[in-house]
Symmetry: C2
Subunit: 215 residues, 2 copies
């Protein structure tokens, strides 16, 4: 197909497609004349992935290029492709080192050991957890630290189901696209549903009603 | 205590304290001379709450004033104070109305009915869930819609424990402060722990190991 049809099929403007071609995010089409090229289904799928990484994930062109390199490297295990995606999405939060940070790090290390989690020291979530626990301590509240085990217990089976749903996708492009959407949109979805569940739980408490039976 | 000590005790600058006094976020101290006032423990606690609402919750002065009015109105039930806090924190997301939005709204209504959730039509999480599901559909992915029931089931008992931990606090100021920190910092904490749990679940899958027994 011509570039105009590729644009129509994907909803990505011709100008953006040309930009992605120049930046190497999209492989060149097959040249059919000095000024024209033909594009195939693999371009449609790659554009969808690029759009997910940039529009939903908020990645830079360089970050997108890193993730695509991992997707295309056949000798890189899927687990490491997912790791590269997480790293690109979440980056490295700024480090503040004080006593509160140190105590928060210890709390998290203990949790990881207690739960037997296999998490590398550079996992981008790790630093974010430490920062949030340290902020809580500085604000003089222990409500989140008290719920830490509850959160971990709850998220463990959920994460297994999420990762299972993602890796069940048909190929590496699909897996990475689902991982991006699941990580970014999924965090928003969980946060919004949690707001609804809070209202419902508060209404239950206010009315003194017993909660409906579990499962 | 004098304003300088109030500033030292709370870490809030004297200029900010004077601004909060002018804006009515902090009740006036007891006047001890034409140019001096004396502040008590209730000012320390109120400043901590104001700081949580503005610094952590990102509320405007007007939004903070609304929440404080609900905290101070003795005839407003705690459940409605929590509702006012959620509304102020999360606001009203922009509405896009198209077919995808309509289908997403239907998906969510069915979920709420299925789970028996008591959620008002104006709950700020509701619109956010609909927007995220509609965005997913527009991007051509159903991975989140497929996990919707899993998310709801997981968040239900968690929300009960979170609301229980918040309302167990000693008084209305404490309850609202914990609700703000729990809502805002808690969402970040869950998202960061989820990132770690994803790595761990992916490592389990990659190594083909059986997951550790639940509980």
């Amino acid at each position: 197909m011509r570039v105009a049809e590729l644009s129509r099929r994907t909803g990505v403007s011709v100008a953006s497609i040309k930009y992605y071609l120049r930046e190497g995010l999209l492989p060149p089409g097959e040249r059919t004349s000095p000024n024209q090229a033909s594009y195939g289904e693999e371009h449609v799928r790659r554009l969808r992935l690029v759009r997910a990484l940039i529009d939903v994930g908020g990645l830079s062109v360089a970050g997108t290029r890193d993730v695509l390199a991992a997707v295309d490297a056949d000798d890189v295990a899927l687990h490491h492709v997912l790791g590269a995606t997480q790293d690109a999405l979440l980056g490295e939060p700024a480090a503040t080192d004080d006593d509160a940070t140190e105590r928060a790090g210890k709390l998290l290390d203990d949790l990881v050991a207690r739960r037997g989690w296999r998490v590398t020291p550079t996992n981008p979530g790790r630093r974010a957890v430490v920062e949030i626990l340290a902020t809580s301590e500085r604000l003089g509240t222990d409500v989140l630290a008290g719920l830490l085990d509850t959160y971990a217990e709850t998220l463990e089976p959920l994460a297994r189901r999420e990762v299972g749903a993602v890796v069940a996708r048909s190929d590496r492009e699909d897996v990475v696209e689902s991982a991006v959407l699941g990580t970014v949109l999924g965090a928003g979805l969980i946060s919004a549903l949690r707001t609804m569940a809070h209202e419902s739980a508060s209404a239950e408490l206010a009315s003194g009603a017993a909660p409906p039976p579990e499962g």
